[in-house]
């Protein structure tokens, strides 16, 4: 069917301000929005710029705002949008560098701020550290995160202030706070108890709704809040 794809364009080397370009093309209902962007770049306008790599929802490169909601362009199929008019824009809350490419540095800085790595200085056993199936299940959901930024860039609190660590960083912290083998939960909880930490979340649920990995983000944030209040990780 014929599809109209309206794309946010901004090249700071040429443009004073952003504008939109509309491209018409034929596409199958099962096509990914990423396929259409590739086609536009290949046949209509080589200057169109966006990030992409794995093209099946795992690498997290191509987070974009599609018809007003954050998706990975490789995981949004035309048929799922229920319209042939598609608007593609960069994710919000991060500086636009060019077209659909945003500056990810602030996002990764928040990620790094929560000590997103395994900490346990006790000498490890010669084989694996044991962990029960239940203990492993406790933090399974948040291990799925691919750092695509769909969540953080969908959060109105983050739009208002990029000092807020944002849902992704809390998810990253959650993955370690609730890991029975890790020993730095208290330290991470202290970091997230900051004025730009976990209490900025007003449970708006945008993050949970758009997470391409279907992580229960708002729930994870709630669990971190509860751990701060009770001083217990359970």
């Amino acid at each position: 069917m014929e599809v109209k794809v309206k794309v946010y364009r901004f090249n700071p080397e040429i443009d004073k301000k952003p504008h939109y370009e509309t491209y018409k093309l034929e596409a199958e209902p099962t096509e990914r929005i990423l396929d259409m962007l590739e086609y536009i770049k290949g046949y209509y306008d080589g200057t169109l710029s966006f990030r992409r790599s794995c093209a099946h929802g795992i690498c997290g490169s191509d987070a974009m705002r599609i018809n007003g909601r954050n998706y990975l362009a490789c995981k949004a199929l035309l048929k799922d949008l229920h319209t042939n008019k598609i608007t593609v824009e960069p994710i919000l809350g991060l500086r636009v560098i060019k077209d659909l490419i945003v500056d990810m540095e602030q996002f990764f800085a928040h990620y790094r701020s929560v000590k997103p790595y395994f900490i346990n200085d006790e000498p490890p056993p010669p084989q694996e550290r044991l962990q029960s199936v239940e203990e492993r299940e406790r933090f399974d959901d948040t291990t799925k995160c691919i750092l695509c930024a769909c969540c953080t860039a969908s959060c109105p609190i983050f739009w208002a202030s990029d000092q807020y660590v944002g849902p992704q960083a809390i998810v990253a912290a959650h993955r370690f706070i609730f890991d029975s083998r890790d020993r730095a939960a208290a330290e991470r909880l202290r970091i997230l108890n900051d004025q730009f930490g976990v209490y900025r979340c007003h449970t708006i649920f945008n993050c949970t709704e758009c997470c391409p990995r279907e992580i229960e983000i708002t729930q994870a944030i709630g669990e971190v809040k509860a751990a701060i209040i009770t001083g217990r990780v359970a």
């Binding site: 710029s49 795992i58 395994f118 203990e135 291990t143």
Partner: protein
């Protein structure tokens, strides 16, 4: 032009690169350069598991793993290197666990393991549980864990820098040249050791599981500097790619009891591999699928088959096979268990096929998946540049870009993640050690000259060619003529096409003349890499007049150990001609015999 100086430079931030960086940075000033943010690397898409004979679920031995890998390689793998990898595997997996990797667990709290193609109990010949897994996102967890550990250890990263040239002075490594993608500025990284960990080149083929980024950059930049490439004719087609899209469906699906079904409703692998059936090695299954489709046994006569993991199917065939649980009870699966063990597969099938795998079978076809060949190295990751295995000072390679060779003519599933961690680690250690005792080579007078020439040619190209037209033609022809089955005639025509495409390539005009994230310019450069590699693959394949592992020739259907039990080395000469020479396979204790599954 900016200049930087490090003892060790790692190119690529997937599993091998990050493991190398983690080890090198313990003793040497190290930086990682990656064209993607590290967590975007293709390691993250690996699903089913990493092979190691932990014996957590049943009896297993690293020697069994070694034999299975030798047999899987169709006897082309170097046996000393395979022994080394399989022995090191056990400690390497424990080490990942100690880094915090969230493996799935057994009832006793140990690392869980599942069966995978070609991995067997060497006494009974039955499948053995050897693949250590984290649900069906093992690669994702390896990539995340290693990146996290690199952050913890303050490794230096240059993210979104595309390495475009390898600097070689006095026959030794002097560093690399990279383009900063955000600005198009050229950077010179002066280094004592360079570790190439750039992954494979599966974008050469049409139906592929590989990321857009998989354009063989490490191979391209080093072959242009005179480094030979080993066994490039061997490229793996994974049996189960999502129909038309090529997205990988892990072998773990068959490990959990899924089966392949043809248009007649038959479990056809019984005919091709009577003992292990759907858990034969990948080359065997992909060829069987091709033959079934060719014989008109595709679903509705089309060019795909079904991968069926519905509980009723799994339970039916598990009962017929007499498959048992560890406690001796019959093996059964419920829909819930399938979803819990294979959550991402369920998600892919729902998203891209509109199929719920617990209720419907999944349409699949073989998909281009893995580069067995690559930059020749020894088991320490040192690049070796001739038939005598002469080491090139300061140059290392690890992971899919390298050919140690532990995969030979066909890689076993789970051995790629293993390759990354074992050889990533050892190349990092060696590169750091070398840098302690070596001086920097002087930089060339104009270090960016060659890179500049290449990009000037792209910027100034005249003509009307389209990048997508040229890449599609390359992919279709390579799929058709240098894919799962090959003939001398087909490959000759493919070679002519590749040479024609290389001419047309010079006439792709560059619309984007800007400096900020000029992805069009980079994509054209990457296509140049793929075309050069496609030609090299074809020339290497054409010369090998036998069938072995993933290299199957209709005109030479038998393995020919008398003439071809040897590795190909291919050099690109300065005039563009390709020269082939050969080196022997290292055999320790496994004499080649017929390969039956």
């Amino acid at each position: 032009m900016k200049k930087h100086q490090f003892d060790v430079i790692v190119i690529g931030a997937g599993g091998a690169g990050l493991m190398a960086a983690l080890y090198a940075s313990k003793t040497a000033n190290t930086a990682v350069i990656s064209k993607l943010y590290p967590t975007r690397s293709h390691t993250g898409t690996a699903q089913g598991g990493v092979g190691a004979a932990l014996g957590n679920e049943e009896e297993d031995h690293w020697e069994w793993h070694t034999f299975d890998s030798v047999k899987g390689s169709d006897y082309l793998g170097d046996q000393d290197a395979i022994e080394f990898m399989c022995y090191e595997a056990v400690q390497a997996v424990y080490e990942l666990e100690h880094y915090g990797l969230p493996f799935s667990r057994t009832a006793e709290g140990k690392i869980a393991q599942r069966p995978f193609g070609g991995h067997t109990n060497n006494v009974t010949g039955k499948p053995v549980r050897r693949a250590c897994y984290a649900a069906d996102r093992t690669g994702h967890m390896i990539l995340q864990t290693l990146y996290q550990q690199c952050l913890k250890n303050n490794v230096n990263f240059y993210d979104e820098y595309q390495v475009v040239d390898l600097l070689v002075v006095n026959g030794a490594t002097a560093g690399v040249v990279a383009i900063e993608l955000g600005t198009s500025e050229l950077h010179v990284f002066h280094a004592k050791s360079v570790i190439l960990a750039t992954g494979g080149h599966g974008r050469v083929w049409d139906i592929t599981s590989n990321a857009y980024a998989y354009t063989g950059d490490g191979i391209a930049i080093s072959m242009r500097r005179g480094v030979p490439m080993e066994d490039m004719e061997f490229f793996q087609f994974h049996p189960t790619g999502i129909y038309k899209l090529g997205i990988l469906i892990t072998e773990g699906v068959r490990g959990e009891g899924g089966v392949l079904i043809n248009g007649k409703g038959e479990r056809f692998m019984e005919r091709y591999a009577p003992r292990v059936k759907d858990l034969a090695s990948r080359d065997v299954i992909s060829r069987a699928m091709y033959l079934e489709i060719k014989a008109g046994n595709g679903i509705n006569g089309q060019n795909y088959l079904y991968l069926d993991v519905r509980p009723e199917t799994v339970n039916k065939y598990a009962a017929l096979d007499g498959r048992k649980r560890l406690d001796g009870s019959p093996y059964t699966m419920t829909g819930e268990e399938i979803i819990a063990k294979l959550p991402d597969i369920v998600d892919f099938a729902r998203t891209y096929l509109g199929v719920d795998p617990v209720a419907q079978p999944m349409p699949v076809q073989p998909t281009a998946h893995y580069t067995m060949g690559g930059i020749p190295t020894n088991k320490y990751g040192e690049v070796v540049i001739d038939e005598d295995n002469t080491v090139m000072p300061g140059l290392y390679a690890a992971g899919e870009v390298a050919c140690v060779s532990v995969h030979g003519a066909n890689r076993l599933g789970t051995n790629s993640l293993l390759d990354l961690i074992v050889f990533g680690k050892h190349s990092g250690l060696r590169a750091a050690e070398f840098s302690q005792g070596a001086d920097f080579q002087p930089l060339p007078a104009d270090p960016t000259e060659f890179a500049q020439q290449q990009f000037d040619a792209i910027r100034n190209a005249q003509g009307n060619e389209k990048i997508l037209d040229i890449s599609s033609k390359m992919k279709f022809v390579m799929m058709d003529c240098v894919g799962m089955f090959r003939t001398g005639e087909g490959m000759q025509s493919a070679l002519e096409t590749m040479r024609e495409l290389k001419e047309r390539y010079k006439h792709i005009p560059l619309h984007d003349q800007g400096k900020i994230f000029n992805t069009e310019m980079i994509n054209i450069w990457e296509l140049g890499n793929l075309l050069d590699i496609a030609e090299l693959v074809t020339v290497s394949a054409q010369a090998r007049t036998e069938s072995r592992g993933a290299h199957a020739r209709e005109d030479y259907p038998k393995r020919d150990d008398a003439n071809w039990l040897k590795h190909t080395l291919a050099w690109v000469k300065p005039d563009g001609a390709i020269e082939l020479r050969y080196k022997p396979v290292v055999i320790t204790k496994y004499q080649p015999k017929e390969r039956v599954y």
